[in-house]
Symmetry: C2
Subunit: 276 residues, 2 copies
Amino acid sequence: MTATPETDTPPARGKRPKQGEPVIDRALSLLAVFSDRRRALTLSELARYAEMPAPTALRLIARLVAWGALERLDDGRYVVGVRLWEVASLSPRGHGVREIALPYLEDLFEVTRHHVLLAVRDNEQAVLIERLSAKDATEVAYRVGGRAPLRSTAIGLVLLAGADQQFQETILKRPPEIEPGVSEMPEGQLRRTLSDVRRTGIAMIRRSLPSRTVSVASPIFDAQGAVVASLSIVVPDGSTPPNVLGPAVRAAARAVSRNLGFQAQASADVRTHSQG
Amino acid sequence: MTATPETDTPPARGKRPKQGEPVIDRALSLLAVFSDRRRALTLSELARYAEMPAPTALRLIARLVAWGALERLDDGRYVVGVRLWEVASLSPRGHGVREIALPYLEDLFEVTRHHVLLAVRDNEQAVLIERLSAKDATEVAYRVGGRAPLRSTAIGLVLLAGADQQFQETILKRPPEIEPGVSEMPEGQLRRTLSDVRRTGIAMIRRSLPSRTVSVASPIFDAQGAVVASLSIVVPDGSTPPNVLGPAVRAAARAVSRNLGFQAQASADVRTHSQG
DNA sequence: CAGGGTGCTTTCAATGGTTGGAATAGTATT
DNA sequence: AATACTATTCCAACCATTGAAAGCACCCTG
């Protein structure tokens, strides 16, 4: 029998607390410490948040710095390096769609002059790939590289509606998150909404916080007909009639899809695909 | 039939060829394999290019995939993942300047309607952080995430002119790279040019390849007065009088600098600073 | 100017994660 | 069916990895 008595909590009463974790995981956990609020960190902060001894952290960080994944500031703190940005720019679902979509985002931006967003789905959230905003636009909700919920944003609803059936069910079963400013939908209504999004190619959501805004989003398809990204605009509530926004966003999204090799069906009923 | 690979790798005389390299370095070298031309790779390709046995590569890749640094496509190939993009978006010299500069880049883009570029220096090259291009613009020379030389591009000259003295000397001593389409400057002229760039805040270069274009660039300063980025436009030669382009670019660059906390001196002579 | 605190760096012996050849399974090509 | 290539699993030797301890460096405060 494969008796592994190690099953209970591994408090590692011995001498080596967290030993046993693969080196790469540790190195990556150091990268994961960085966030919107933590862009420059000292060695001890990194060691503390990544839960490892300072000497260990130092050794790993030294390698990351040597490669360029991290950079060291004059004051000794560490920040994410340009080299990592460089590699990340090769991410198909990151810069890939972005590169193709950007000109169309700009066209759309010219029309509305507020916010234009581009996002892809990563697991149970939407990751913002691009955001164009006027300098005097309404308050910003999300930043590029940040994450947004799937169920309570227009851009997220589009991604959810385009996800594979099994994933959708998983999300639908989950209890609604309570979020201020948006009215969370019960399961039944959410199902109907997703169906509408698939049929019309448009999702729309009103927010009251941080300011009264209307968001309209539309899916971007790849050559296989899978929803790979979501395009959205956010404007102050009442600034533009919604029946104008919808077609504009959908047209832009279609233009991007066409550029990705998507052949629009004669009629509707676009198949959904699994992802990753 | 090919015989035993005895004649192949000369140094690997022992049993363990490349053993001894830190794990992180190996993992990072896997990431480094990806490039503009290689965005989706199989396991064996990754192993080959990173020069490591397939089992080793597989093990490392598995960790990277688990974290999200890489993603696996349906056909088994690997691509750079969104998670890496997410972390990279926290890079101050990457997305950092970009975020602040973007609105001004857009303003400038509206005027010229061709290419607007934003770059930072990484070692001996310029790394393109952002590029706005019209759909019908002239041929593109560089892509976001790509690298450009310091001496033969306007955007690079600005970064070189703003680098610390010691670094500049290193570069100046280097023999001129031969590049088609631009006339490489001898050391003396290059020195004079850099001095001019510092004084006027403008660099200009004409290219004949891949098409006849004029590039104009201007430095972006941080609160400490160091050159942290370079802003540039690229237009077809003859489309716009250069004496119009210069002030426009410089004005946009200054606006960004101001947003970074830079206090413009009354007179000229901005001090240069060392970097990382 | 001691004195205590915090954070960074180096050292070093024990050790367990790491390693890659070999074998196996899977897939495309001839 | 044979061939060639790629992907994956296995495992025992081994060396990179580990982190406590100690040494530095640099604040503060009394």
